[in-house]
């Protein structure tokens, strides 16, 4: 199914959880925050939150800044 991650269209299997998605994108889940359709997914729900067709995700992390 199609999802959108950080502005890019991606193909992903059905029944993919947020955790699984992060893993498949090689993203270290310790230091990220995730928005699903403009709503924050609490870190504690990464495993259970299952993605749906056309979901839009924003995955952010900390970078250098002043």
């Amino acid at each position: 199914m199609q999802i959108n991650v950080n502005g890019e269209n991606k193909e992903c299997p059905t029944e993919t959880s947020v955790s699984k998605l992060l893993e498949s994108l090689d993203i270290d889940n310790r230091y990220v925050a995730v928005e699903l359709n403009h709503k924050i997914v609490p870190r504690t729900q990464f495993n259970e939150k299952i993605l749906q067709e056309n979901d839009s995700l924003e995955i952010v992390t900390f970078v250098g800044g002043g």
């Binding site: 993203i27 230091y31 925050a33 952010v60 992390t61 900390f62 250098g64 800044g65 002043g66």
Partner: protein, 256 residues
């Protein structure tokens, strides 16, 4: 000389120099510079994670989180809504409820948008954030931000990254006289003496990034900034002599 700790909400700090983590050539140089600065609070930005290609090294792997308090910023936000959203994302990372709120007006000046800065301050204070808010050196705007519940008000000495120093010390003085929350000069600091000027005026701290990160030798400059901060603070606490128009001899004028 004994000094009190700097209190920001539930946090307490001995160092009054806050430093950023942006613009360093390597993580190693950054780490050494942070160490040399003696800072206990370091700022970071929130950005989209890299989802293409190889995973990059994470900034936080290079930062000792037991040693430093992380102060996420909302840099790059141009509206209250964006800044509030960024603050929530930053808090969700589970490292800090502090936020350096920055709502910018335009890309050339990077000056704060006063209306949206106030709106975002009100919203974030209501949501329980410890808000350290970046503002211009306008004393009235600063007062409004204090009234909205900001934990610290952080006037710019000069535009972000400009290295021009404290352009209007008189406004900073008025802010210091008018407000009761800790005032931290944020932005515009180019070299050590700029930090000293801010601290001598009575600011509770200075936040800077570019002045260290883009110096030819960031590690040396970090140490210079640390000394400058301590020096200015001590001078402030010591109570300087008043400026006079005429001379006042240091040696006795009487005969032997």
């Amino acid at each position: 000389m004994e000094d009190t700790v700097l209190k920001l909400g539930k946090y307490e700090f001995n160092s009054r120099l806050f430093v950023g983590t942006g613009k360093y050539q390597t993580f190693d140089i950054m780490k050494e510079a942070l160490e040399a600065s003696g800072a206990e609070v370091i700022t970071v930005a929130v950005r989209r994670a890299n989802i293409g290609g190889k995973p990059g090294e994470s900034l936080l792997d290079h930062i000792d989180k037991d040693k430093y308090t992380i102060l996420p910023n909302t840099a790059g936000c141009y509206s209250a809504d964006e800044a509030v959203r960024t603050a929530f994302l930053a808090r969700e990372m589970g490292i800090s409820d502090l936020i350096k709120l920055e709502v910018l007006g335009d890309e050339n000046t990077l000056l704060p948008d006063p209306v949206d800065t106030l709106k975002a301050t009100e919203a974030l204070v209501k949501e329980g954030f410890t808000v350290l808010v970046y503002t211009s050196d306008d004393p009235i705007a600063a007062k409004r931000l204090q009234d909205a519940g900001a934990t610290s008000v952080m006037p710019a000495g000069a535009p972000i990254g400009s290295g021009q120093g404290i352009l209007n010390p008189n406004n900073i003085r008025i802010i210091l006289e008018t407000l009761s929350v800790p005032i931290i000069v944020d932005a515009g600091v180019g070299t050590a003496s700029d930090v000293t000027v801010a601290m001598e005026l009575g600011c509770e701290g200075v936040l800077l990034n570019t002045g260290i990160a883009l110096a030819k030798d960031p590690i040396k400059m970090a140490r210079a900034m640390k000394l400058a901060c301590e020096s200015g603070r001590l001078a402030h606490l010591s109570g300087r002599i008043p400026k006079k128009l005429y001379a006042n001899a240091s040696s006795p004028l009487k005969d032997f």
